[in-house]
Point group: C2
Chain length 161, copies 2
């Protein structure tokens, strides 16, 4: 179960889009979530910090929601990038940057703390700028949460300059 993403889409986001608390490589205090392909599915690994608990022994639900959120936008970016003919880790233009339009999480079981988490995603194109990502979060071999993210290409309203 313990794994590592070698070529993450977040490694290739433009610098201006790399400050996200969840997945920005430039956000020093952030979670540094990294999302890559595993065949035709997407994967993100995360080992929760000690303080990210709901009650002692179990992971904080908001952290799981954050993992699903960034896994969703990262997966959508991977999928559109692949549709455009590119893979992370190869010479390619900057990948598209998505934001979350909606997020849904079903907490299926309490998520034990102290084991690495793995999010697995399946992407589906709704239209080229809007993708649905269905996500399962595993602690070891147990699916503890199921999520769905509707991700859209970042609109100009997010550009502050």
């Amino acid at each position: 179960m313990r794994g590592k993403v070698v070529h993450a889409i977040q490694d290739e986001y433009a610098e201006d889009y790399s400050w996200c608390y969840g997945c920005g490589r430039l956000n020093e205090q952030g979670l540094h979530l990294r999302t890559g392909w595993d065949g035709d599915r997407t994967v993100t690994y995360y080992a929760p910090r000690a303080e990210q608990m709901a009650v002692p022994g179990f992971v904080y639900g908001g952290l799981i929601a954050s993992l699903i959120d960034c896994h969703g936008t990262g997966s959508a970016s991977l999928a559109l990038h692949r549709k455009n003919g590119y893979e992370p880790g190869s010479k390619a233009p900057e990948p598209p940057r998505f934001v979350t339009a909606s997020l849904k999480v079903d907490f299926v079981k309490p998520t034990p703390h102290g084991v690495p988490l793995k999010a697995i995603g399946v992407t589906e194109e709704i239209h080229p700028k809007k993708w649905k990502v269905s996500i399962e979060v595993f602690a070891e071999d147990t699916c503890c949460a199921m999520g769905e993210v509707i991700a859209v290409v970042m609109p100009k309203t997010f550009q502050n300059k």
Copy 2:
């Protein structure tokens, strides 16, 4: 818009249930979200930290999901406590501790960073141990996110001892 909850339900959770990263008063690194009544609605205020951004100038969606998550469980606890005849800040037994069964967030508009956020909740009993909380998150006077939490009284599976 800037406000403060005087009597928060989280101030009265049992110590064992006060370690939540989002709303536990004993979690030093946590967000310390505090939820109280405002008439027949519930309210939580939060000023995002500098690093809790999606892109510079806008709040991280996972933080908004976390705010909605803990506002949901706190609101459900307030509601059942009131149904039982008790208010936070008065002499009362420990309030019931809820966990999130499901969480849904619609990100209506980009949430500007640098202004305090206010979550407002409306509670609805599904049955005594299961409540629905409908939540709106405001930045100043603008509703930026809408959420729904299904909260259930914490099951024994969360008791690690």
